[in-house]
Symmetry: C2
Subunit: 326 residues, 2 copies
């Protein structure tokens, strides 16, 4: 195993333990069991790893860094619970979502409570960085909500551009990874410039990650990703593939995609037809190029940092994210 695999697995275990431990902050909350369930659904824990490695890239890891890392992961999980309600997603990572196990009302409250829990975890960071940390956190949350709202609106609106799409995913997916990088750099003792660079690293990684995610909606391994194929098409989301197709496909080829997006109910056959159309037009190659491009930008954001184990880990983290199997 590589040093990255060993180290990130070690940290991941600590993160799981800290997440579990954070439930103590909920006392006798009737929502505790559901929140524990959300944590048990797992995940790659990319955001807290980013916070931890960012701290190591500019200075040192500490219990405060771990606290902020956990806060960011809780926040991310809150957004998933509410997103799953909005997207009517019945499963995540192959497990039933909270609104399925406990009802929509409880799922709304679980999300709300998790947001409070995230702030509570953040408050446990000792020292003088509380205000700056809180600012980063607030900005992250606001952007995520905005991004999700833009996604809601955009997924229904015609005639929006790749620029709008990139803006939307910068908020929806990029903002929390940006906050994760910034918080790690802040609590690791980084300079203002380093905090900025590691924030941008997170943002660019986030954009790459989301474009890849849009592609995996059609080309992903269903068992591995635990959700049905072509969900974006069924929900008529104007995702990266759709916009790219709209931009670059000739009118006749695009007609297949357009027809599916105009239907009231999209069938499995429609999904296959759209998938074929994208494949024939080379949309996935375009997507891969775009992912590589944003990953390059992310790596460029690290250039100014002096060489360190933390920096190496960040490069590996970026690499792992982009290498998600098709």
């Amino acid at each position: 195993m590589s040093k990255f695999t060993t180290l990130s697995e070690e940290y991941r275990q600590s993160i799981e333990a800290e997440l579990e431990g954070s439930l103590e902050l909920l006392g006798d909350s009737p929502l505790r069991r559901d929140i524990g369930y959300v944590f048990s659904m797992g995940g790659k824990r990319v955001r807290p790893l980013l916070t931890i490695f960012a701290s190591e890239a500019v200075g040192a890891f500490s219990q405060d860094v771990m606290q902020a890392a956990v806060a960011i992961e809780i926040l991310h999980n809150f957004t998933l619970v509410h997103d799953d309600i909005m997207d009517k997603a019945d499963t995540r990572r192959g497990k039933a979502t909270v609104h399925i196990t406990s009802g929509t009302n409880t799922a709304i409250l679980v999300g709300d409570q998790m947001m409070a829990l995230a702030y509570d975890a953040l408050e446990k960071c000792s020292g003088r960085h509380l205000r700056a940390g809180l600012r980063i956190f607030n900005e992250g949350v606001k952007q995520v909500c905005d991004g999700q709202a833009l996604d809601e609106n955009l997924s229904k609106s015609v005639g929006y551009t790749m620029t709008d799409y990139i803006d939307m995913i910068s908020r929806k997916t990029g903002a929390l990874l940006m906050a994760a990088g910034e918080l790690g750099a802040l609590l690791g003792g980084g300079t203002t410039q380093e905090i900025g660079s590691l924030g941008k690293f997170g943002l660019n990684i986030g954009i790459a990650f989301q474009i890849l995610d849009d592609m995996l909606d059609l080309e992903g391994d269903m068992e591995r990703f635990g959700k049905p194929r072509g969900l974006d098409i069924m929900e008529k989301k104007r995702n990266f593939l759709f916009i790219k197709a709209q931009q670059s496909m000739d009118r006749k080829s695009f007609a297949v995609v357009d027809a599916a997006y105009r239907k009231n109910s999209v069938s499995a056959d429609d999904v296959v037809a759209v998938h074929d159309a994208y494949r024939n037009a080379g949309i996935f190659e375009d997507g891969k190029k775009e992912v590589a491009d944003y990953t390059e930008r992310a790596l460029a954001n690290l250039e100014a940092l002096t060489a360190s184990a933390g920096k190496e880990m960040l490069v590996e983290l970026a690499d792992t994210l982009v290498k998600r199997r098709f």
Copy 2:
């Protein structure tokens, strides 16, 4: 006009202006218009007034106090937006609720964004009280979510007691008024004991307020309260009236109430029948006694404070809340 009326009206105008101003913190958020709409729905602004008067009762009002007061009011409004989704309430204060005007998904996001905005407003408080303020805030949010969750569960469960009910409303309604009192006392420069007393004042006022609210569900002026009469019965909520009735009514008289709560769909006639049963059994008198009792406890929490204009205003505030017309 009394000094209280004049002063609270002045402060209320400042609060409205600050709420409006807080929208600036949202930048170009696609949710800004909806959040502005929530603010424009109005309200008595009891919580921020409590924060302000609490600060004056232990020391001095300041811009920081106003900031915290506004943060608490935003937080309260976030809970209303999500509660209205859960309760399927179409109107509030005679106006369409956000999930009606903009859809449930947007309403979820509006609430989420308002929670972030509340924390953002709180962070704008300068000075050394940020961590303590954040703790009070976090505890308030967690308790409110717990209270709402208990309400969700309890409203369906049989065999729960008045103690469970008081615990539920202490969290659902009391916790934010408690936080409002504590924050005012903290930022006004109060001692630990004063912060505790003003928190308890808020908590007890909150309990009185909620019991009164349960009564107004049946005896309130529909036009003034902007919601249909008997909503709690239609939703089969085991509110104060129900539990008191269950405790104190004889079996035969309670059968009317019980029958309505067992129906799949409660009619307007059922509401009238339950209302009459409560009235004949003197449940509203019991309720009024309970409200008076918790108001007394609240006023007792102020006893240790030295006389001041702020203290007088708090007494008047308690009085106004309890005097809500039937």
